[in-house]
């Protein structure tokens, strides 16, 4: 059944269908042809054709299947002209739209092509920058020009980087496969790290949330494809809690707002609910699980003062045992400061400083300043905030720190 659709509605239908269909088409065409560039071009082409045809022909009943058929036919045309091996053409011809998209059920051993694609794009034998760019381009379908702009390189540089990565996959012999058994346990954290990097790239202080929405979509997909790996659910929950605050993170002038200053009515309740549901599916105590539990405490607090700081402090203690790092020590100091008073926070901070772990972290000064302010020494706190402001790299962060200093001691 087809319905006539106005141009705007058709464009929306193409955008909606492409979220599901694009990675599926690319992943399937790569498996059959082994040609990454061809797969991406044909997937892109299918969207272009849909944009031309759907406004007049109507949106097809099975938009994903329609796109897959167009992409497959396009790939057959290209390969026929290039007269490559008959085998690939034969396999392509056999590819029906529905066969190409099996939804794996839990416990079933059917590997989704999209999972192969994700694991290959995130292979540790590719440089981390190449993994991020390739995942964005190939799995998420973000145009090369947009990736280039948001990762601050020229489009030609990004094109070269992507071409090099695809060539390297073929030359180095990186397999198009999801590892199994212990190898999967070893490789999954690397995949999650790429996803989280993709997500946080959207949240650097001076930047706009660039790929956060893509990262959330990808985490949802990955969890659906690997329901037994609950670290994926933990990462999804963590991303959703952070993503729920995207509209509240800045004031009208564009300055960054700390959690306690954000208007909680502007937090995305749907994202928080989805995050809590994902957190419910977590069955282990990995690092994303602890981070997600911390983020959940913030997301569910009715106001800053009502935050469950003792739970957060315990979660940071666990995280510090699991994966010690300067950033975690800093956050642990903040959490202990709120849970048990500023003196307790300063004890944690001084212990971390004594270990030399916080050298070169201007935010350590900001945390100290905040704790000192809460002890009542406003002048000393203002001085520490100014010292921290002089050392941070981003303008938005510097502005926020100087504002704190001015409030304490104008």
């Amino acid at each position: 059944m087809r319905t006539q659709a106005p141009a705007g509605a058709a464009a929306e239908a193409v955008a909606a269908a492409s979220v599901e269909a694009y990675p599926r088409i690319v992943a399937t065409l790569i498996r059959v042809t082994g040609d990454w560039a061809l797969a991406e071009d044909c997937a892109q082409e299918s969207l272009t054709v849909a944009l031309e045809r759907w406004p007049t022909d109507g949106v097809p009943a099975n938009p994903g299947g329609w796109l897959m058929t167009v992409a497959r036919n396009r790939a057959i045309d290209v390969l026929r002209r290039a007269t490559v091996e008959r085998r690939k053409l034969h396999d392509l011809a056999l590819l029906t739209p529905d066969e190409a998209q099996p939804e794996p059920e839990a416990g079933q051993d059917v590997v989704d092509d999209r999972l192969r694609l994700i694991f290959t794009c995130c292979h540790p034998a590719l440089a981390i920058e190449a993994r991020v760019a390739l995942t964005l381009r190939t799995v998420c379908g973000v145009p090369t020009a947009d990736i280039a702009r948001l990762l601050l390189v020229s489009e030609s540089t990004m094109t070269r980087r992507l071409t090099r990565a695809r060539t390297r996959i073929a030359q180095a012999g990186i397999p198009y496969r999801v590892p199994s058994g212990p190898a999967l346990t070893e490789r999954l954290p690397g995949v999650l790290a790429v996803l989280y990097l993709l997500f946080t790239r959207g949240y650097v202080a001076d930047g706009e949330p660039a790929f956060a929405a893509e990262a959330v979509r990808l985490a949802r997909l990955l969890e659906r494809l690997m329901p037994d790996q609950s670290e994926v659910a933990a990462l999804l929950a963590l991303c959703l809690f952070q993503h729920s605050r995207r509209d509240a993170r800045r004031d009208a002038a564009g300055n960054l707002l700390t959690l306690e200053r954000q208007d909680r009515d502007r937090w995305d309740r749907d994202a928080i609910a989805e995050g809590l549901a994902a957190l419910d599916r977590v069955r282990h105590d990995g690092s994303y699980a602890w981070q997600a539990r911390i983020a959940a405490c913030h997301a569910t607090a009715a106001s800053a003062v009502e935050t469950d700081w003792p739970t957060i402090a315990r979660a940071y203690d666990a995280l510090a045992d699991l994966r010690p790092s300067p950033v975690i020590e800093l956050n642990r100091a903040v959490a202990h400061g709120y849970a048990y008073g500023p003196a307790a926070g300063l004890v944690v901070l001084e212990a971390a400083r004594a270990g030399g772990g916080l050298d070169g972290y201007p935010l350590a000064l900001a945390v100290q300043a905040d704790l000192v302010a809460r002890q009542g020494d406003r002048r000393r706190a203002a001085g520490l905030f100014r010292e921290a402001a002089a050392a941070v790299g981003s303008t938005a962060e510097r502005r926020a720190l100087l504002d704190r200093a001015d409030e304490l001691a104008p």
Partner: protein
């Protein structure tokens, strides 16, 4: 796929005190599974000789082609399904901990 595995020294070897894997077992295991075709240890670079011909003139010099802190101390020729299998073979070689290993696929040149 065929990979030349260069076995290299490294200024920062592993500090893990557990016993290193046995090289003879590694060779026997991978030879029997057809994943290692040949390989050997090499004499120190002080025994190396570099040969060039320029404008018809033979130039022979003492030493390796490049003076570097890390040097190639051996090689193994691997025949593996893909990079993941080659990495699995490499990780159990004692020099993965004592030094470092480079997996270089053979160029896929037309005949």
């Amino acid at each position: 796929m065929k990979y030349m595995m260069f076995v290299c020294s490294d200024a920062k070897p592993d500090t893990d005190p557990t016993e290193l894997p046995d090289i003879h077992k590694w060779v026997a295991e991978n030879d029997s599974r057809g994943r290692r075709l040949t390989g050997d240890a090499l004499a120190p670079t002080s025994a190396a000789t570099t040969v060039r011909v320029r404008d018809g003139e033979l130039l022979v010099s003492e030493g390796p082609f490049a003076e570097t802190a890390e040097v190639i101390v051996g090689f193994d020729l691997l025949d593996c399904a893909d990079l993941d299998e080659a990495i699995e073979v490499a990780r159990t070689h004692p020099m993965a901990r004592e030094g470092r290993l480079e997996l270089r696929p053979f160029a896929d040149l037309p005949d």
